[in-house]
């Protein structure tokens, strides 16, 4: 261990300049690190830290307008940056391979899985179609895909996100590369799928002795798989070392800040909330989606929300937790009557809103507001923030002058400059826009706020700030919040009660302590076991 080894990959003083006119001069500046065979190196950082840029530079996949201006990337001693494109093509796919973030778009939609995997072998000289075919079958089996013999003839759209990512991994492993670069490979996946993929990568890495460079933004994932860690901030490596050291004894203030922002279950007092007035009483709510069907074939029916009941009190936060397709977003939309409901009752302040017509419901809308997931798509880019904040109140009969005063107060309340009033959404960062989104929801003095994945598009430090803001606002305004999320850590951190959804049903609910410490339902148990970094306490690291 102590003898100096030649690293598999050595990045040496690498700098990649950005085109002029951007917020900084370099995408990455003077970064250096080593990756040895048989280890997993995690590159961790927030968006814009340059972590993906480095990965792409190693593979020679940078866009044309980005060219490294200095440094070396030594792969088994050879500098990849000075290699001819045709030589680099020989290395790519054979001795180094890459898995990308979006399994939905990373596979060619018009090519069968079999052909996409076989292509790697074909372009690297395996001429025998039968050999390729046999290897494809082995690979699919190896990455744990069900029924490989049939699955290889499927087109990617037939596969789930996790299955596609397994196909990507099979493709990367086809020629047993020495180096595997995984660029946020589990970010787009559900938590239980993420756990399986992480497990797979770790298993393969051990079996093949590969060097794995794993790019991620999630310290929980780092805690689960990293041997060593490189922390990047705005194009600079701020800290690197053994995972154990960086995770538990972070030195650089930025690392400490990041780790402090990792969502984690916190003890809190749910009693106060339990004493508020009942504001929402949902009874046997049902919503069914039908698709397809015609003269000769039957339609497909999905019970998105199946017989759901719960109550919510003023000042209380209910976390609705589930994976994609569990029906959690549909539930939120049903409560606000953004979609038709097929059965059941939604008693808001004691009266059922389900039978109300759109016109009869409109006066109630202002009391129930939504904060959406995507801070970029949910604000109209052609309207100023002022217009966005005043439209609702003005439509509800408030005078513009009053609405404007209120809007400026709200901006201050959510931690933005009041001058933001006259600016457009695109002038703000993601976190700031989400603050605008929250201010917009609050402009109508709602009593109920439905936050649908409202922080999942944000970087972890921004996420922490927005969560804090929501909790702070709840204390001040005594509103009830339904917090829909896929991230159990966040739910555990801010919710008074948690409802776990699975296939349209609430399979378990209760206070976080109960759900986390004594989960009753098998699905909840699986979900909790899959939380990344479960055995690592970020709070202790930054005490």
């Amino acid at each position: 261990m102590n003898a100096p080894r030649t690293p598999l990959l050595r990045v040496e003083n690498l700098s990649i300049p950005l085109p002029t006119g951007l917020d900084r001069e370099f995408a990455v500046e003077n970064i250096s690190y080593d990756l040895h065979a048989g280890e997993i190196l995690c590159i961790v950082g927030e968006s814009g830290s340059g972590k993906s840029m480095t990965a792409n530079a190693i593979m020679g996949l940078l866009p044309d307008y980005l060219n490294p201006s200095g440094g070396k990337i030594l792969f088994r001693g050879k500098d990849l940056l000075t290699m001819r494109e045709s030589d680099l093509e020989q290395e790519r796919g054979r001795s180094m391979a890459m898995v990308f973030q979006e399994p939905l778009s990373a596979l060619n939609p018009l090519m069968k899985v079999r052909d996409q995997i076989a292509e790697v072998m074909e372009v690297h000289g395996e001429r025998n179609a039968e050999t390729r075919d046999r290897r494809v079958l082995d690979l699919l089996e190896y990455v744990g895909l069900p029924d490989p013999a049939n699955l290889r003839d499927a087109y990617p759209f037939r596969l789930s996100g996790g299955q596609r990512q397994r196909v990507m991994i099979a493709m990367a492993l086809a020629l047993e590369p020495a180096l595997l670069i995984a660029d946020e490979p589990t970010t787009a996946l559900d938590v239980t799928t993420q756990a399986q993929i992480l497990d797979l990568i770790r298993r393969i890495q051990k079996a093949k002795g590969m060097g794995v460079m794993f790019v991620t933004h999630d310290f929980g994932v780092v805690a689960d798989i990293a041997d060593r860690v490189v922390v990047m901030e705005r194009g600079i490596v701020v800290e690197q070392g053994l995972a154990e050291d960086v995770l538990n004894r972070p030195k650089h203030p930025y690392t400490r800040r990041l780790i402090a922002a990792v969502p984690h279950r916190e003890a809190h007092d749910a009693k106060a909330a339990a004493e508020g007035d009942l504001i929402l009483d949902v009874r046997n709510l049902r919503k069914t989606y039908r698709s397809g069907g015609g003269f000769f074939s039957r339609p497909r029916v999905v019970n998105a929300v199946n017989d759901i009941s719960f109550t919510l009190r003023r000042g209380e936060t209910l976390g609705v937790v589930g994976e994609s397709g569990s029906g959690k977003s549909t539930l939120g939309r049903c409560l606000l009557k953004l979609t038709e409901v097929d059965g059941g009752q939604v008693l808001f302040r004691g009266s059922d809103v389900v039978p109300l017509s759109a016109g009869a419901f409109r006066p109630l809308r202002r009391h129930m507001q939504m904060v959406f997931q995507d801070p970029f798509a949910s604000l109209n880019p052609r309207q100023t923030v002022g217009r966005i904040l005043t439209d609702g109140p003005v439509a509800n009969g408030v005078s513009y002058a009053d609405a404007e005063i209120k809007a400026r107060e709200l901006l201050a309340l959510v931690g933005l400059e009041t001058s933001a009033f006259d600016r457009y959404p695109q002038e703000f960062s993601g976190g700031q826009r989400q603050r605008v989104g929250i201010a917009r929801a609050l402009a109508l003095d709602p009593e109920l706020l439905v936050a649908d994945e409202s922080v999942s598009a944000l970087d972890v430090s921004v996420q922490a700030q927005v969560l804090e803001l929501l909790q702070d606002l709840q204390r001040k305004l005594n509103i009830a919040i339904i917090f829909i999320t896929h991230d159990l850590r966040i739910a555990a951190q801010i919710c008074d009660r948690i409802a776990v959804m699975y296939r349209g049903e609430i399979v378990e609910s209760g206070p976080p302590e109960q759900v986390f410490d004594a989960p009753q339902h098998a699905y909840t148990q699986r979900l909790i076991a899959a939380i990344p970094g479960l055995h690592w306490n970020p709070r202790l690291a930054v005490l």
Partner: protein, 338 residues
């Protein structure tokens, strides 16, 4: 047999049947709508076939005109005329040409092959050349080749069809004497067999290129844009990461995906191609239904006009139906979505 069973189990056959059934019903409704709309529009237009015929016969008196009107059923109420016409259409009877004294169906069937030949050739010519040029422009984006291709495409896109037709006759027929300027076959030559095929092909060149250039320009631009869009997608990066050489990436990954919107557009334009044929056929004296329509229009020959409209509408609908079916083979996602 096992394959068929699997298909049945997956409901694929039923789904396709459903699809065909729905599209067929829609297609019939569309054609019916076109017939009714044209019928009403034509009868709203000023002018009357009876008076045109009477005028040409040199007898303008009211009694003769009334007699003609009664003979052709023009004295009946409009809804009754429509009903009679629709009944005829259902039995394959498109009426009788006042002017040519022949059943409309005979006239159209006589002319249709020439038009289908011309538009078919122009369609294939423009699609193949357009896609080829578009691929080159996208592959060599920013190069001189790209600029030349895109500038020429713009020129042909902006130039009126009839002008290109006249100029090409001037250059290639009159000055260079390479190609025949009009008609489909050499008059009086009476070629048979392959000699006849060669003769027709020789006559086809000018009208095909003229009619096709505009659409070539459209497909070139569309293909280039679509290619560039696909080249920016993630799976292209995946292919690069696999070590696939650039030319193969373009062929295997980019083109196949980029060509889908081009096909959609091409099927929509098939109808316009028939419309464009009216001009081309007139300029090149091509004996197709485009010219038949043009003459019928001048002569107020309602049954012929209606017949031509009906047939062109049916061709357009048919082309669209075929495209939709083809799409299900080219793009496996379509079937799942429907």
């Amino acid at each position: 047999m096992p394959a068929l069973l699997t298909l049945c189990r997956q409901g694929k056959i039923l789904k396709t049947l459903d699809f065909l059934f729905q599209r067929f019903v829609k297609a019939i409704l569309v054609v019916l709508g076109v017939v009714i709309l044209n019928f009403v529009l034509i009868h709203m237009a000023p002018g009357d076939p009876a008076s045109v015929l009477a005028g040409e016969a040199g007898a303008g008196d009211a009694k003769f005109i009334a007699q003609l009107r009664a003979q052709f059923g023009l004295d009946q109420p409009l809804y009754w005329q429509l009903w009679t016409y629709l009944k005829g259409v259902l039995t394959g009877d498109l009426g009788y040409s006042y002017r040519n004294q022949v059943p409309v169906m005979t006239l159209i069937l006589d002319r249709l092959p020439a038009t289908l030949l011309l538009t078919g050739c122009a369609f294939v010519f423009s699609l193949v050349l357009g896609i080829l040029l578009g691929v080159i422009a996208a592959y060599r984006r920013g190069s001189i080749a790209d600029s030349v291709v895109m500038t020429s495409a713009l020129v042909f896109y902006a130039t009126p069809l009839f002008w290109i037709a006249l100029m090409s006759v001037l250059v290639f027929s009159l000055h260079l004497d390479w190609l025949p300027p009009f008609d489909m076959e050499s008059i009086g030559a009476n070629y048979t067999g392959w000699a006849r095929v060669a003769d027709i092909a020789h006559h086809l060149v000018l009208p095909t290129v003229t009619l096709g250039l505009f659409f070539t320009a459209v497909y070139t631009r569309l293909t280039r844009a679509s290619m560039l869009e696909v080249m920016a997608l993630d799976f292209v990066k995946t292919a690069r990461a696999k070590g696939v050489p650039k030319a193969q990436i373009i062929r295997r990954h980019v083109l196949r995906n980029a060509i889908l919107p081009v096909f959609t557009f091409a099927s929509m334009q098939a109808g316009q191609l028939v419309g464009g044929a009216v001009l081309t056929e007139t300029v090149f004296a091509w004996p197709g239904i485009g010219r038949l329509m043009f003459d019928a229009l001048l002569q107020r020959d309602y049954p012929v006009l209606l017949g031509v409209f009906l047939v062109t509408a049916a061709v357009v609908v048919l082309v669209n139906l075929i495209t939709d079916l083809l799409y299900r083979f080219v793009d496996p996602r379509i079937e799942a979505a429907s």
